[in-house]
């Protein structure tokens, strides 16, 4: 770890503090993430081993933040602690969108940027899903952006037990619910790739609106935000919904026109968004299918 000079704290990741640091020899900027993975009597914990090696395999694509190496330092008790060293990108999608919303010159995010970022996001999600990995916590803060090159990469992959998405993060920061799929909010335990596609839909809308689509501050409020816009789900629309663990009787709202929530988005974009925000996870578009959607027809894909 002496290899790196910590420069500043850049965030509170789900698993702890994240530092911007510099490789003292090469000058390369990196993001250092301390994990909670401590050695036990059995040496390197098997979960850490399997998960870090999966992360290593996943980060082969340019759409996922690259894991450069894993370092270990001894803690006070002489036990090695693991640090993950990632490539550093200068900003994240939340900060990026904020610069268009606030500041001296508020303006919409250019449609071509939204289109390109959505394509890269779907590429990254498709890559994760094809490797059997759900992200489970996709949100603008977890999407790192190189604004000069127009690159977006997925970070903070939540892999499994050692990395489970907690309700409260390590640093007691409340974990946001805004991007959480309705089946997760309703207590479904058998969720799949659809949970990530719901989040992708919410992020899509947020780029177009420059503010969150469903900004709930509790699980119930989060559901009500969703129901008010998309209508209260019915058994016909989503078979089995009323049998989910946390289902209750809710006020009956009728679906609103989604296009009105994202006025700046063109018709193909609204169609793609509609397919991402389907209540029944089985009807939700997959990342791979999304890449083939007409919304991306006008994109120059040769750059990817």
């Amino acid at each position: 770890m002496e290899k790196y000079e910590k420069l500043e704290k850049v965030g509170e990741g789900t698993y702890g503090k994240v530092y911007k640091a510099k490789d003292k020899i090469t000058g390369q900027l990196v993001a250092l993430k301390k994990t909670r993975l401590e050695m036990d009597e059995e040496g390197v914990p098997p979960t850490a081993l399997r998960e870090v090696s999966l992360l290593q395999l996943l980060s082969q694509t340019i759409y996922i933040v690259r894991l450069l190496c894993v370092e270990h330092v001894d803690n006070k008790n002489g036990k090695p602690l693991l640090y993950l060293v990632f490539e550093y990108l200068d900003t994240d999608l939340k900060k990026f969108v904020d610069t268009y919303r606030r500041g001296p010159n508020p303006r919409p995010v250019p449609p071509s940027v939204i289109q390109s970022f959505m394509f890269q996001l779907c590429k990254g999600v498709a890559h994760c899903h094809s490797h059997g990995v759900l992200h489970r916590d996709l949100k603008p803060q977890n999407l790192l952006v190189d604004k000069d090159k127009g690159i977006l990469k997925i970070a903070d992959l939540g892999l499994g037990r050692a990395f489970t998405v907690p309700l409260k993060s390590y640093t007691h920061e409340i974990v946001t619910l805004w991007y959480r799929a309705p089946e997760v909010l309703l207590g479904s335990t058998h969720y799949s790739t659809g949970v990530d596609m719901w989040s992708v839909g919410c992020i899509f809308a947020e780029m177009a609106r420059r503010q969150a689509l469903f900004p709930g501050d509790s699980e119930l409020q989060q559901l009500l935000h969703i129901f008010r816009l998309l209508g209260t789900p019915s058994e016909e629309q989503w078979p089995g919904v009323s049998a989910l663990r946390d289902w209750h009787e809710y006020p009956q709202w009728k679906p609103q026109n989604l296009a009105r929530a994202v006025p700046s988005l063109e018709a193909d974009g609204v169609d793609l968004l509609t397919k991402m925000l389907q209540y029944d996870p089985a009807n939700r578009i997959s990342a791979k299918e999304a890449l083939e959607h007409p919304y991306f027809d006008s994109l120059d894909k040769s750059q990817f």
């Binding site: 979960t47 290593q56 090695p80 490797h131 059997g132």
Partner: protein, 318 residues
Amino acid sequence: MEYELENPLTGFEEHQSDTIPSLFSSESDHMPSMSYILSSKTRDLDISARRQAIPMIFQFSCNPDPFIPYLAVNYLDRFISRQELPHGKPWMIKLLCISCLSLAAKMKQNDFSLTDDIQRKEGFIFDTETIQRMELLILGALKWRMRSITPFSFIYYFLSLVKLKDPSLRQALKNRATEIIFTSQHEIKLLEFKPSIIAASALISASQELLPLQFPSFRAAISSCIYVNKEKLLDCWNVMNSTVMNSYESILDMIISLSTNNTPVNVLDLHFSTTTTTSQSAAATAAIVTERDIKRRKISDLRYCNDKSFQLTQIQQC
């Protein structure tokens, strides 16, 4: 988060075809370094370390899962290709073997622990902290790329290229190719070939043994695959064939040495017939071995003499 050697990318079933290009593009990350392969032809030291280590791995592995020692040898090869072992420290090789096995067992969600008894019998005792440090050293050298892409990862893909209607034939081919891959792991000359080429060669060899009539079309289908370099495939197949033949011979040699009731004269009269069994037992697949072959073995390839214990323990594994 499970890890299976036959499907290292843990894909959802519907996505399996999507990961094929990733498998081919990442396989080189899971091989010994190229400079090692080139220099191993001249560096006797590493070869001898490897030859000592492989039997040890099979000896220490008390787990019935044959993929665990296979994976451990993959880690060992990659480690010694990147990190020179200190001279004159035989305990170092033991520690390395134990740590590779421990990591492989963890990846396969299996328990691995050497009881103190075994350690004492073997004349060494490493405390857990020492093994931990070694594990971290290996992880660092291998860059935590522990989901090795091995020849087993490509078997399903290559099998899908050939049209075999009978599922039991597919299974027989897969089983035989799997055996060939296990048997030929100790051959240092195979280290230079990519896992996919080894898988393709093993399947071609298996088809030659089991389906001689379909063999030409089988070979054509695999060698025309866009991911396969035909020349490398041919080279690899040649090395593999001689390795497999040699291993039959050393198995035979072992059977001979084990059969105390037979006089040497009787043994030389023994004939083994080709068998198409799909059993996991390597011994059961001992193929045509003639008196001429036995003689040939005796005058050549002293290399394999050292590997007898490896063969023996491998068979006991199965």
